[in-house]
């Protein structure tokens, strides 16, 4: 059997640097908020899916879900821990969705919680130091940081499509303006084009304020069947589409951490996300033109301009025009990241995609206080993870 799946509750701990809170506590606070939002308690939860990393916590092996139930609810429920780097939250959501859609469970919790190491994200222990590991080569042969990859994309866009440095700065300004109204965001001070361009150059043409830093944060979603949705008394938010994907052969994207690509004509850029978006749309029976609000991974200002073009929202080069005309603003035709996005939150890797879905839930319920997209009925998330992982979720009010 298959059954429809609904978001019953959403909860998130504010993003920031929280040196005094262990990752477990961040996770528990987010889950408590999500359960309270759904009007449920731990005894109602029939399964827990955690987006897991090995940065911290999770009993040292990424067993985050197990750590959580052993801390607060030893009730025999299945725990699933999924990897997927920065897309892990979307993969955890996809797993939880399947656990309910299949009819096996009625209420499942999704959690992503992360405390990030300081500075650059390190290589995981136990990696191979030879040419079979791109994440070794990119460091020893050329020292290519993540911003260097994004900068190469942005530079190419400026060359091909004539994107100006001011437009690229304006994308960061928009994210900060949106975040000013969101109490969960870490960077809530509005900025200007001049300020962005005056911030230190990290990797030309990208300045510090155009690149997402790392943060600590946690987000949780309670998914449930229709019967359980009706018990909450909340406006229904249905999971209309939900897909995960990997990349296509010949993708022209400069994929971190590889040092070369074998490019074929006509293949979608960042195809792992494009493939997920296309499948989520097919499942929901909608096209990009039907989306009222898009929460997407803006690791840099370049992503804000490029991603909607790559995934078929409009043609290549139109992103600049959309941004300049205010069409990507909260009141525009395609509001992007009313939350403030990664640029205003900083990235708490595994928690990020879960937070995107929390944000969409609040938007569709009309609860996005301070940054509400008027009349939003259909919301989409899009996220990318290392290893060519893509995820996309479509919610409908």
């Amino acid at each position: 059997m298959t059954q429809p799946v609904y978001v019953l509750g959403a909860g998130a701990h504010p993003w920031g640097k929280w040196p005094d809170k262990p990752q477990l506590q961040l996770a528990l606070e987010a889950i408590d908020l999500a359960l309270a939002d759904a009007g449920l308690g731990w005894p109602d939860v029939q399964g827990l899916v955690a987006a897991s990393s090995r940065f911290e916590g999770g009993m040292g092996w990424g067993l985050h879900a197990n750590e959580i139930v052993q801390a607060v609810a030893e009730q025999g429920i299945p725990c699933v821990n999924v990897g997927g780097a920065c897309a892990a939250g979307a993969i955890a959501f996809h797993t939880a969705h399947a656990m309910i859609a299949s009819g096996e469970h009625e209420v499942v919790c999704v959690i992503g919680a992360e405390r990030m190491p300081k500075g650059f994200i390190p290589r995981p222990p136990g990696s191979q130091d030879d040419i079979s590991d791109s994440d070794y080569l990119r460091w020893v042969a050329m020292g290519a940081t993540n911003p260097a990859y994004w900068a190469i994309e942005a530079q190419r866009r400026m060359h091909e499509l004539g994107t100006s440095k001011e437009t690229l700065a304006r994308a960061a300004v928009l994210m900060r303006r949106n975040a000013a109204g969101n109490r969960l965001a870490r960077f809530r001070k509005e900025t200007t084009v001049d300020e962005v361009l005056a911030s230190p150059m990290v990797a030309d043409p990208l300045h510090l304020l155009q690149i997402c830093p790392v943060s600590d944060g946690a987000a949780a979603i309670i998914l449930g069947s229709e019967a359980w949705m009706k018990r909450t008394g909340r406006p229904a938010v249905a999971v209309a589409g939900c897909a995960i994907a990997t990349g296509s052969f010949g993708d022209p994207g400069r994929r971190i951490p590889t040092i070369a690509s074998s490019v074929r004509a006509g293949v979608t850029h960042t195809s792992e996300v494009g493939n997920a978006v296309a499948r989520a749309c097919a499942m929901a029976g909608i096209g990009p033109e039907d989306v009222n609000v898009l929460e997407m991974a803006d690791n840099t200002a370049w992503h804000i301009l490029a991603w909607p073009e790559q995934f078929g929202f409009y043609e290549a080069g139109k992103g600049d025009w959309m941004l300049e005309r205010g069409e990507l603003d909260i009141g525009g035709t395609l509001p992007i990241n009313p939350s403030g996005g990664f640029l205003s939150f900083g990235e708490a890797t595994t928690a990020q995609a879960v937070l995107q879905i929390c944000e969409l839930t609040w938007q569709l319920r009309g609860q996005a206080e301070g940054h509400q997209v008027p009349g939003a009925r259909i919301g989409m998330s899009a996220v990318l993870g290392l290893g060519a992982n893509g995820g996309s979720v479509i919610l409908k009010a």
Binding site: I131, A144, I152, D204, F249, R254, S262
Partner: protein, 139 residues
């Protein structure tokens, strides 16, 4: 005495470096670095062989890295440096450090050639070389 940053990445013919990749003889796709298999989903044979890659290409894009990368990247006398993306033909685009460019004079579409230059001196291995791309015609 000199050594290379990683075994199997490139080879030296005298002073001239050659990138070592993989070619699928069935579908003609070229990979860098050496690949354990052809990745083309439409290619059934996946018959691969070692391939010496072209030493000349066209600059597709670039950046200047202004902050020092983490310590896994070893370099003597660190200074900001440029990284380029170079089209070597047959759809293969390779990233590498740039050499011999002024930061304000890097232009997309510039013809470049492969060179080998030292990154650092190691007590046991001697001068450790990496590959870089330099302008084809000195400005």
């Amino acid at each position: 005495m000199s050594a290379m940053v990683a075994d199997g990445l490139f080879a030296l013919h005298g002073d001239e470096p050659r990138l070592i990749g993989t070619r699928c003889t069935a579908c003609d796709t070229v990979y860098f670095p050496q690949a354990p298999s052809c990745r083309n989903p439409d290619c059934r044979e996946k018959t691969i062989e070692r391939a010496v890659l072209p030493t000349r290409g066209i600059l597709v894009s670039y950046t200047v890295q202004r902050y020092q990368p983490p310590s896994l990247f070893r370099i003597d006398d660190w200074q900001p440096y440029a990284i380029g993306l170079v089209d070597l033909g047959d759809g293969l685009e390779v990233m590498g450090m740039l050499s011999g460019f002024a930061f304000d004079g890097i232009a997309i579409r510039t013809p470049v050639r492969l060179v080998a230059e030292p990154l650092y001196a190691d007590a046991e291995r001697g001068l450790v070389l990496t590959y870089k791309f330099a302008p084809e015609i000195e400005p």
